[in-house]
């Protein structure tokens, strides 16, 4: 596989370490305080793929929003490479291109061509001129096997291709962290499997920290170095699993004995939380 040669094993990334310390988030809709995140602590090493698994609506996205700067936290602290993003004193972090989000339903701008979507970040930040950004975008899209769709609009390509373009758009900014919010939720399982391999290939080439939210345990164990299984609302890690299957991985892993063992080890914990979430009748979110 091309990926195996691209990335020397064990070369550690030096940036993108996230530290979530004792974070609490209380929503206060109409006076009824709802605890979404309960004293949650989690360490993500630089260059690690950390998968956050939990039932729908458990508060995983709240954590992501706190890191990205879309929402405030109530108390606690989140740091990126030692720098404080948000804390009790400064409840909301400032969104920035060092932490780019790939959204659940996709957020490519439908009114811009795929190429201009990818070129968007550096142009907005004034880092590159429009022409330079387009050139870089062209070569990054070609690297990701996305040649041929540059001048189409997002609405004209398949959802799988759209997701890949969105990831390339994020990588254009050389981010420290990629925040993925169930990006493959709406895809069929066949496309999903292609997307997983594509994501890994991109990861092996640009070693960037990945914070990946999902409710699919197999996806989590297949992709992640670390899998954090979260409790149902309020959300905090119930079990943190280190996946000892070596990278680079490909789809052969899915049928390996170790993979099956890991699934068995964690399945019960995930199921328990899913039942709890179901019984409490939380709205999906």
């Amino acid at each position: 596989m091309a990926a195996a040669t691209a990335m020397p094993q064990g070369a550690a990334a030096t940036r993108g370490a996230i530290r979530i310390e004792d974070v609490v988030k209380i929503y206060d809709p109409e006076g009824a305080a709802v605890m979404a995140v309960d004293h949650c602590s989690l360490d993500i090493a630089a260059g690690e793929i950390c998968m956050i698994v939990g039932p729908s609506g458990c508060g995983k996205t709240t954590l992501l929003n706190a890191i990205a700067g879309f929402h405030e936290i109530t108390s606690g602290r989140i740091t990126l490479d030692g720098e404080v993003l948000c804390s009790t004193e400064k409840p909301r972090s400032t969104p920035g291109s060092d932490r780019v989000v790939v959204f659940q339903n996709g957020a490519l701008f439908p009114w811009k061509s795929n190429l201009d979507n990818v070129a968007f970040g550096p142009v907005m930040q004034g880092k590159l001129s429009k022409t330079e950004a387009r050139e870089k975008a062209l070569s990054m899209m070609a690297d990701a096997g996305l040649n041929g769709v540059e001048h189409n609009f997002p609405g004209e390509v398949s959802s799988g291709v759209r997701r890949r373009i969105e990831i390339v758009r994020a990588l254009m900014n050389d981010p420290k962290v990629l925040l993925l919010d169930e990006p493959y939720r709406a895809l069929d399982s066949l496309t999903k499997s292609v997307m997983h391999e594509a994501l890994l290939e991109i990861y092996y080439r640009n070693k960037v920290t990945i914070f990946f939210i999902t409710h699919d345990l197999e996806e989590a164990i297949f992709l992640g170095h670390k899998v954090a299984i979260m409790t149902s609302r309020p959300c905090k890690p119930k079990k943190i699993l280190t996946v000892d299957i070596p990278h680079p991985r490909d789809y052969g892993v899915l049928t390996s004995k170790r993979f099956r063992e890991l699934i068995e080890e964690t399945n019960e914990a995930v199921h328990e939380e899913a039942v709890k979430a179901f019984q409490s009748g939380e709205k999906e979110g």
Binding site: V100, W111, M124, G155
Partner: protein, 448 residues
């Protein structure tokens, strides 16, 4: 590499070979003959390279005999890049892909081989001559590329093939022309014609044949048409009178001024109402208070406020348009998915960049809906205003013809209003399509 000579091949033989290939299997005899006419035969010896990855991709190949090794380059992401091609296999399909001018693979003969070669551009032209069959061929190419060559995600490029085959990448006015020809091929214009005939037929029957009592004073359609086409009109207004065009021009000019003013003020106001909570809290209640007041209720105030009748008429025409435009623009901003704004923030866009790159283009579909409504209501209020005051204009024509008992002229004025109103509204639609190519294309694919 030495290029082998083009050798002729009997069309019958070529036809048989084409018919046995995956993409051309289902094509009609007639179209196959056209394809066979542009193909030629070449022979290669074992070890010869047909093409290298990165070379220009112009022709499509079909194996007649022999064996060829086909290796896709890594960038294509094929699950299994290596493939041995034998009789009946089709390769070199990069020649058909849009925006891929270069070979994606290397092809080497491992045995002496005979191949059929067809120029990609010419093939697309032939397929374009029968787009329905061409679509089938292209989708079979798609299946072949994903299944036999294990290339994932060519979906988007194949869409490109479809468009290339239709020999147009619709842009601007071309989209409109394309739609027009499609419209003419659909049953819709003919149903429309039948509908209109029934309408005018019933008018004719009700007034002139059955002479129904309700329509006693109503001018018949023949009276109206005769008057309209009369060089010396009985009541002074027909296609031949200068006055007629003056009325039309005056009305159009008033609507244009009012519409432009309403757009220039309504769109920015709507954008700010949707964008800033503060602005909305200040302005929206006043807006909602004034909006339901009918235009006719504004007439006395308008006449008192503006000394010149012309300004009063334009003010009245402007009002309703303005509310429709501003309200729809505001809804447009509010309809924008929060994710787009967040994504732009993540990517480092400043507040003003978000406004110009997300809010403005994102609200355009609603803005144009608003403008369509706006142009409609501007005609509506224009006539109301012209009936009250003014010297010229179609509303004035209708009103004075009533007081002077020139009934056919009323109908002429009404029909003219309808036609002119329709044209202006169509112009707004065309402008919208032109500015929102992304939406036109998205919708076109959706309806496929």
């Amino acid at each position: 590499m030495p290029t082998p000579e083009k050798q002729p091949m009997s069309p019958e033989v070529m036809l048989g070979i084409l018919k046995a290939t995956m993409p051309f299997q289902v094509v009609s005899e007639a179209l196959l003959r056209k394809i066979a006419a542009i193909g030629w035969k070449e022979s290669y010896r074992a070890g010869q390279t047909l093409y290298e990855a990165g070379g220009p991709a112009e022709d499509l190949f079909i194996v007649v005999s022999g064996k060829i090794d086909h290796e896709l380059q890594p960038g294509v992401n094929a699950r299994r890049p290596m493939k041995t091609l034998v009789e009946g296999d089709v390769f070199g399909w990069a020649a058909l892909l849009e925006k891929v001018p270069n070979r994606l693979a290397k092809a080497v003969c491992t045995e002496d081989a005979l191949i059929i070669r067809i120029n990609g551009e010419e093939l697309l032209k032939v397929l374009g001559s029968d787009p329905d069959a061409g679509d089938v061929v292209m989708s079979r190419f798609a299946t072949m590329i994903t299944r036999d060559y294990t290339v994932p995600d060519l979906f988007a490029q194949l869409r490109g093939i479809h468009r290339k085959m239709h020999a147009r990448d619709p842009q601007g006015m071309n989209v409109t022309l394309y739609r027009l020809t499609r419209w003419l091929k659909s049953p819709r214009p003919y149903l429309m014609f039948i509908g209109l005939s029934i309408f005018f037929g019933s008018w004719y029957l009700a007034v002139e044949v059955f002479k129904l009592p309700r329509f006693r004073e109503m001018p018949g359609i023949t009276t109206v048409v005769i008057e309209w086409l009369n060089p010396n009109p009985v009541f002074g207004l027909s296609l031949y009178s200068e006055e007629y065009y003056k009325h039309i021009a005056v009305s159009i000019w008033r609507v244009t001024q009012a519409f432009l003013l309403a757009t220039a003020l309504g769109v920015p106001l709507g954008l700010f109402l949707g964008w800033s909570k503060g602005v909305k809290d200040y302005v929206f209640p006043i807006f909602e208070l004034l909006r339901p007041i009918p235009i006719l209720a504004w007439v006395p105030i308008a006449i008192v406020m503006f000394v010149a009748t012309e300004s009063a008429v334009i003010f009245l025409t402007f009002l309703a348009s303005f509310f429709a435009t501003a309200l729809n623009t505001m809804l447009g901003v509010e309809s924008i998915d929060e994710s787009y704004v967040r994504a732009a923030n993540c990517l480092g866009a400043s507040k003003s960049q978000v406004f110009f790159h997300v809010i403005v283009p994102g609200s355009l579909p609603f803005v144009f809906t608003g403008l369509q409504i706006s142009v409609g209501v501007s005609w509506f209020s224009l006539v109301a205003a012209e009936m009250v005051s003014g010297q010229y204009g179609l509303g004035y024509v209708i009103n004075t013809s009533y007081t002077m008992i020139r009934y056919p002229t009323i109908i002429i004025g009404m029909i003219t209003l309808g036609a002119v109103g329709y044209v202006t509204s169509a112009m707004v639609r065309v402008a919208g399509d032109y500015m929102m190519q992304w939406r036109v294309r998205e919708l076109a694919l959706g309806s496929r």
